[in-house]
């Protein structure tokens, strides 16, 4: 789940003014793994191939100094998504509906001559007394475009990886890349217990709703939210203790093991070569 996706969920849930809608929307997006279970191109690949391929492309995006190279990488994600039976409108909208809003705010100042001096494209203010000059410049537009395209393409790749890979397999693949075991475990538990805590939050919300009538003052709402956050934190802390004990009780000694055995097949090697080859080409074109 990306920030953009998360904010989208909050927005949708907010529109319906129901915390339970948020729980439902999050559950659908985070936990269903419905797309990851479809039979498609990326779903059929070993998660390590996808993870290494995604990282190679992300590095290429960071190193590339050429808009066309980054745009080409983004374009390549579209047939990959289609071949993996990811609904195209969902995939594109999920990323691009919110990128302009968040990254756009960060990129906005870069458009102007104040931060990006150079040839003006559009002059906005040009007064002599007092001397004020504000224009959108060509280097500014290029900088903003780089930022938007880099973020959009990176998020698209991450979304594609998450949508087409079951969470457990993704965690296992992370271990191959020597990501610290503790970090991988924490990720796994976070994912699992977001759901439980969302339900707890939802119940707290409903319990409160059942005891109030009419409109509650904003200050009171804020106090309740802060208190609820505290209660939820205490609950999650107690639950985390119990979960760790339950893991220990069944033999956990700090090293998580998963039943699925990952096997490299011929197609995996081929696709790894393709992904890394594309990343190298994009970096070379952009250098």
């Amino acid at each position: 789940m990306t920030w953009a996706g998360l904010v989208g969920l909050f927005k949708r849930a907010g529109a319906k003014s129901r915390l339970s809608d948020l729980t439902g929307a999050l559950e659908q997006s985070l936990f269903a793994e419905e797309i990851a279970r479809r039979k498609g191109l990326l779903q059929s690949l070993d998660p390590r191939v996808k993870l290494i391929g995604a990282l190679a492309w992300l590095l290429a995006i960071s190193w590339s100094q050429n808009l066309a190279g980054i745009a080409a990488l983004y374009t390549l994600t579209l047939p990959l998504a289609a071949a993996s039976r990811v609904p195209m409108t969902f995939y594109v909208k999920r990323v691009w509906a919110l990128i302009p809003f968040f990254t756009g705010i960060i990129a906005l100042p870069a458009l102007f001559n104040v931060f990006s001096p150079g040839a003006p494209l559009v002059t906005l203010i040009d007064s002599t007394s007092p001397r004020v000059y504000l224009a959108i410049t060509l280097p500014g537009v290029v900088t903003a475009a780089f930022l938007l395209l880099r973020v959009g393409t990176s998020v698209s790749i991450a979304v594609l990886l998450i949508l087409t890979t079951r969470w457990t397999l993704l965690l296992k693949a992370l271990r191959v890349l020597r990501v610290p075991q503790t970090f991988v475990l924490i990720l796994g538990m976070t994912y699992r217990y977001i759901y439980v805590l969302l339900h707890a939050a939802n119940n707290m919300f409903l319990a409160r709703q059942s005891r109030i009538v009419g409109r509650v003052a904003d200050a009171e709402q804020r106090r309740w939210l802060a208190a609820s956050a505290g209660v939820l934190f205490a609950k999650s802390y107690a639950l985390s203790d119990e979960v760790y004990l339950a893991m220990q009780s069944r033999g956990f000694r700090g090293e998580a093991q998963v039943m699925e055995t990952l096997r490299w097949r011929g197609a995996d090697w081929m696709w790894l070569a393709v992904f890394v080859g594309v990343a190298v080409a994009a970096t070379w074109i952009g250098s």
């Binding site: 936990f31 079951r166 969470w167 457990t168 796994g188 538990m189 994912y191 699992r192 217990y193 759901y195 439980v196 639950l239 119990e242 979960v243 004990l245 339950a246 893991m247 220990q248 009780s249 069944r250 033999g251 956990f252 000694r253 093991q257 998963v258 039943m259 055995t261």
Partner: protein, 274 residues
């Protein structure tokens, strides 16, 4: 089970406190192989803490515990071989299935224990399939535990321990939040374990199930000490002690126009006659 059966656990003068708040006070208890023991007590009396000590999740601050004749200490369990040997023999079913079920799918959950205890992959698969089949939940195999009903979660929690095939079962409030049908199935399951000669230690405050699941009862009162130890029918007929330990309470109601006051078995049934 007879008095000649070897002791599974020997608890000697154990005291345990959470941040200076006493949970267990000078507890001594011997539990023998094949015994069916119920630990009775109200909320906060220390039952769950005792189960966690027996499962070597907590270690006593005073006193000692021996399991299968060996000292059960943090130092002893630091050694992988000893820890694995102990964990293969003892399984704990937690009260809250959301604490017990932490894996992404039911299959991952049921394979977790045998996998982490170093059994060969083929045996892990065989045991997991057997456990799912025995509890009739094979159809839930690929489901996410958090999306199951309360009864289904409890079955998965049992299966997650069953796949370990432990000799000793520790059950923490096994009937809590279960509907009547799920409760009945759980009791059938405990009956199966009994026929297999397993040692079953159940922490509960549900007096209705005690005679079905236990041949011996130890009772905790709110002072966190064992106040009684005996046969279920003896302890369950000691109303004064049950009231003192907050396991039943006086119940006032009107019947045929007359007001009655009875001891009330809490929480499920009224065991009284007019």
């Amino acid at each position: 089970m007879s008095q000649d059966s070897p002791p599974v656990f020997q608890v000697e003068h154990v005291t345990y406190a959470y941040n200076n708040q006493i949970a267990l006070k000078d507890i001594s208890l011997t539990i023998r192989a094949g015994e069916r023991l119920a630990i009775l007590g109200a909320n906060g009396s220390g039952k769950s803490t005792l189960l966690k000590i027996l499962d070597a999740l907590y270690f006593p601050q005073r006193g000692a515990v021996r399991a299968f004749g060996e000292p059960l200490t943090e130092a002893a369990l630091r050694e992988d071989a000893r820890a694995f040997a102990f964990r293969r023999r003892v399984g704990l079913v937690f009260q809250d299935p959301d604490a017990q079920l932490f894996s992404p799918t039911v299959w991952d959950e049921v394979t977790f224990a045998p996998l982490h205890l170093g059994l060969p992959r083929a045996e892990v698969i065989e045991r997991a399939e057997w456990a799912l089949d025995l509890l009739n939940i094979t159809k839930l195999r690929d489901r996410a535990p958090h999306r199951l009903s309360g009864g289904e979660k409890k079955k998965v929690a049992l299966a997650s321990v069953l796949s370990l095939r432990p000799e000793v079962w520790l059950l923490d409030e096994p009937t809590a939040s279960l509907d009547p049908r799920s409760q009945a199935r759980l009791l059938d399951f405990i009956g199966e374990l009994t026929r297999e000669g397993k040692t079953i230690i159940t922490a509960t405050q549900d007096l209705d199930i005690v005679e079905e699941i236990a041949d011996r009862v130890v009772m905790f009162c709110e002072e966190h000490e064992i106040t009684s130890d005996g046969a279920p029918h003896e302890l369950l007929s000691d109303y004064d002690r049950l009231v003192e330990c907050n396991l039943i309470h006086a119940h006032r109601h009107t019947h045929d126009g007359t007001e009655h006051v009875h001891h009330h078995l809490h929480p499920v049934s009224h065991r009284h006659a007019h």
